[in-house]
Amino acid sequence: MMQLKCPWCGLRDESEFVCGGTTHLIRPDLSASDAIWGEYLFFRDNPKGVHLERWRHAYGCGQWFNVARHTVTHEVLSVYAMTDAPPAHS
């Protein structure tokens, strides 16, 4: 089973967490075109490699955090706070 290191609770099994998908998405301005809203809502890089994503320790402290994880090996390369800048892995 994959394990993630919650910044508050430490190393826990994947079944305690919920993945919230790609992180660092920036909501467009309300006046943006339908095409830009579509990009924001639906279109993703979906990389085969390092993916920057958000996870929530749903069955623990309930906190959100960011993870850089490889989508083939599932190796976690770094765990960082929601407001931190993206790490250099990608």
């Binding site: 993945c19 998908g21 339908d34 809502l41 989508t71």
Partner: protein
């Protein structure tokens, strides 16, 4: 050669030295009219229908590994057309109708077994939503029958129907025309029939880039076996669609997830229908070989690893044993995962891409096997004519801009 009882007899009399390979393994030519990227069911079917329906025979099908080695060989072989919206009902039922005649058409036994699917309701809310589901199907002209608790028990006697069952079965509904088909045979049957019509099936040939011509138009592909030119290119790569799209310079509304399945050791006939329990996330059928084929829900984080996580495996086995306590002594033979291309509305994308000349068939997510004939037919149509097939018209990329989604998440039968 035509497969028949007579051919078998001739084989028996000649010590089976008369058999020839079902398809050739040609070297790629420098130029084709159409190149299809992806040798799963959808790509193979598209190649076959290009040749059969449109007379386009100068076609290459490029497969990175071996044909049918991706999701076509990793699904639970279930075919059904029990979807909610008219657009999807038309598309999936077209596929099921093709499957009904496919063994004869391809002269290859795909072992279609229309043993029906029983969807289980475990609560009053399930009963209500399944009545709505079955009625939606009938409104769309597709067979559906609501089942009482006793009717479910009669169809699957091994289900735990006791009063203290962990997940009590209150009823359900069935689509009788649903069932299973041999997944490998679907790939091999289409491959053999396409090859006979002149399609070059080229395995161990990975696409590493797209060639761009005037106006950004695609004019060919770079592959691990050299450069191949073609004016029209179709992608049918399921979970790897985003990887190919990136090579071509655009993005898709797709996220790739691992979807697990597993089989037990074979046993005598014990379950003669497909049983699906959307509430617990398990679906089970018995293969003709006797194995119990068990499907799970998605591992809900992006993944390109063709293996599943233990947490999900544990959940689906627990659910299966709660439904069928007598399976508890069975040993598992194999467990695996396929990488599925999940789209926000759980509906496919079949049509042009932002790159002129490049077309895509993707987004089938957790349910691509059942749709292979329809996906192939409609991709072939747009590749041959440049116009969307009528069935594929609602399933275009632009719906993610217009917002006209066709949300089939409820009918996907698998937790998203």
């Amino acid at each position: 050669m035509k497969y028949s009882a007579l051919a078998l007899l001739r084989g028996a009399l000649s010590a089976h030295r008369n058999w020839v390979p079902a398809w050739r393994s040609p070297e790629p030519k420098p130029t084709y009219d159409v190149v299809i990227v992806g040798g799963g069911g959808h790509g193979l079917a598209a190649a076959y229908y290009l040749a059969r329906n449109h007379g386009v025979r100068n076609v290459a099908l490029l497969e990175r590994g071996w044909i049918g080695g991706g999701n076509t060989g990793r699904n639970t072989t279930i075919v059904r057309s029990n979807y909610l919206f008219p657009e999807s009902a038309r598309l999936y039922d077209f596929a099921l109708k093709c499957y009904e005649g496919l063994s004869r058409e391809l002269n290859f036994n795909i072992m279609l077994s229309q043993r029906g699917i029983v969807m289980l309701a475990h609560s009053r809310h399930d009963l209500d939503s399944m009545a709505r589901w079955a009625n939606a199907m009938r409104m769309n002209g597709i067979d559906a029958q609501i089942l009482t608790r006793d009717e479910v028990a009669a169809r699957a006697p091994l289900l735990d129907m006791s009063p203290d069952a962990r997940f009590p079965v209150l009823g359900g509904f069935t689509q009788r025309r649903a069932g299973t088909a041999r997944h490998d045979a679907v790939a091999w049957g289409y491959a053999r029939a396409a090859d006979a019509l002149g399609v070059d099936i080229i395995q161990n040939c990975e696409v590493t880039g797209f060639l761009s011509g005037a106006g950004g138009r695609v004019v060919g592909v770079e592959t691990s076996r050299g450069r191949i030119r073609a004016e029209r290119i179709g992608i049918a790569a399921a979970g790897h669609s985003s990887v190919l799209a990136k090579l071509a310079g655009f993005r898709l509304p797709v996220v790739s997830y691992a979807l697990q399945a597993m089989v037990t050791e074979p046993l005598k006939p014990a379950l003669d229908t497909v049983v699906s329990s959307p509430g617990t996330g398990a679906y089970v059928s018995q293969s003709d070989k006797g194995e119990m084929v068990i499907g799970a829900g998605l591992d809900l984080f992006p993944s390109y690893a063709q293996r599943g996580s233990f947490a999900v495996l544990q959940g689906v086995i627990a659910a299966t044993l709660a439904l069928f306590p007598s399976f508890s002594r069975l040993r598992m033979l194999r467990q695996w995962a396929g990488i599925v291309d999940v789209v926000h509305d759980s509906s496919p994308i079949i049509g042009p891409t932002p790159v002129p000349g490049l077309y895509i068939n993707c987004g089938w997510g957790t349910g691509g096997f059942k749709a292979i004939p329809a996906g192939g037919w409609t991709l072939a149509h747009v590749l041959a004519t440049g116009r969307n097939h009528e069935l594929a018209e609602p399933f275009q990329l632009e719906r993610f801009v217009t917002g006209r989604l066709i949300d089939e998440a409820a009918a996907a039968g698998i937790a998203h």
